[in-house]
Amino acid sequence: MSKLVSRREFLNLLAATGGTAAALKAGAALGLLPGGATAATLDLLNLGASNRKVTILGSGLSGLTVAYELGKYGYDCTILEASHRCGGRIFTVRHGDLIDEIGNRQYCEFDDEPHMYFNAGAARIPSIHRNVLAYCKELGVELEVFINENKTSYVQDDNLLGGKAIRNIDYTTNMRGFMAELLAKSLTIEEMNAPFTVREAETLLGMIRSFGDLGEDDLYRGSFRAGYAAGGFLNHGVQKDMIAFRDLLKSQAGRGLMSANEGDTGPILLQAVGGMDKLIQGFTNHVGDRVKYRARVASVHVRDDGVEVAYDQDGVRHLIKADYCFNCIPTHIMTGIEHNFPADYVTAMKYVRRGTAYKAAFQAKERFWEQEDIYGGITWMNNPSQQIWYPSHGIHKAKGIVLASYDYGDGSYHTKMTQRARIEAHLKDGEKVHPNYRNLLEKPITIAWHRMNHMLGCSARWTRSRGGWTHDEEQMYHHLQSPVNGRHYFIGDQISMHSAWQESAVMSAQWALAHLDRRVRAELA
């Protein structure tokens, strides 16, 4: 390394840390991050003898939340759902299920067994998403741990060690060692003393050493943390060779790898036993009779006294009138549906972009990863398929479903391909990690969210600059959040500053419900 971290840079780092703390507080104040310790409890006014009709557009998680809650308080709800199924982006694919991708319809041929499913949309519930978890509890949805980080899974990059797949633990142990050595060596104790007391400086240095498993001399010489090259139980363990820092730096893998288990995807993550759509079933157990399937909304008109919605079902256009309307149809689809929304609403709807996430999965004829000491978790690849997920459930059973690709950032690469080309691409990419991959996998499915019927995107993308939300963007968001005429509410994770999470969909619904409740209380007072 030619340049050591200067003290000034180090102090900048400290300043940045102070900034984060401030941002966290500000975030909580804005309602971006969970501030309180408990899930929201909605205490809506029970309508009693009065009557209120509600039309809910789309049976996404937010729409179902509204139907379920309002049902408790005496509202008369109808859900219009364009698709043949409920749940939108909460989509668990099992034997016989239709994947309604436009131009690439597929039927899933997985074996018909409870553990043989694939969560094509939402798959993970962070333990801090307490509103979703509260509904899981209330609705009797059984949960189990979802394994995101697995140190025995692989890292594969053609630029790294000639493309040989290495274990996550080899990569991270060595990377941490070198990073710690760099930090420890770049600061003399006097320099550290400047911003800190002697004790603090010693504590810090101690942590840096422990972080990287450094020797007394602050040098990294490899670590048993990466496991043993041989022995270790009945004989002395033999330490694995170090991977040279220069070699590690030939790969960008660390950028993703070092942050893959932070933030929302930090431990502990949970999943619904048997598939994420058990949450949807939990809701439909209560409000399923309120859903009209294959009922595609064709127009929405907000009037002074209510909301008129036209929808097509069985080749006939129907009209339904209600006092209030909650709408989780993606904004980019809503722009193609007739409506009389105000100008600021429309500007905001047109501003939001749609994401292109893409997932693919195979049935594995045997759980080959378990023979490689892998139980759950993610292999990271520097190729377009990007990730391999090993199921957290069904351990030691005969077969399992593996995720063969997940591109959250830009799935358009695979989206543009034919089904055949997609499958071949994933087999070729995965072979670099598991040499016999091609022969061990069968019954592929792929899901390009950009092309999924009635969805045409994976989630709302509000921000366009790296700097995050601009003032204008925030304003547009607030316009779209506030109801039209007090009667039409947009809901869904699209009406949040944290899209692509179920928690946001639920919280958007709760926000709208609380808002409606204030109005209804005033009306009935």
């Binding site: 079902q313 980019h332 007739e338 429309v346």
Partner: protein
Amino acid sequence: MTRKTWFSLCLFFLLNGMSSFAAENEREPYDDRYCTSCHGTDGRGNEAVQAPRLAGMEPWYLQRQLENFRAGIRGAHPRDIEGIAMRAMAVKLSNRSIADIIEWVGSWETGPAEITIVGDASVGEILYGTCAACHGSNAEGNEAIAAPALAGQNDWYLITQLRNFMAGYRGTHPQDRYGAQMRTMVNGLGDVTGIIDVVSYINTLSGNQGSSRLIQN
């Protein structure tokens, strides 16, 4: 929706045995009527998905475009992102399906499109002089020359197409006879400003409606 649509839709669903009451686990019957998912209610066009207006489109032009997409004459250029999306749909269409869809599209009614661009329509009028020979002085189209109507189409879509012709995303396939013809015409527009001006003029022919929702380009 007109009575004719109701009838044709009902007939279609009857023939296909599709019903909203189909049991959950029964296989969904296949049909190709995905168009409105992208092209909006009654094919009115959806800017957010970049899918243009289909309502009011001439059947001969609609048919040719569907066939061109299907054959890869259109929508196959790697940078033609929107064309590629449309092509994924078109490759699934049989001749029978295309005939069915043309009839379906023919049943849609639609009003004027929303104006979303601002350009100099008076400059556009002059530029449009050359276009009129083929597309007609009211941009009403001319089947004999195989040039479609431009009036009534979404302005943002006309812009994408003129850009696509200019960039060679459209009209460069060796079998794209009509596209090639059109491609030679875009050079006269100069650049994007010319494109916006001429489309602003076409807006005046369309009876397209201005709105407070104007987005400056």
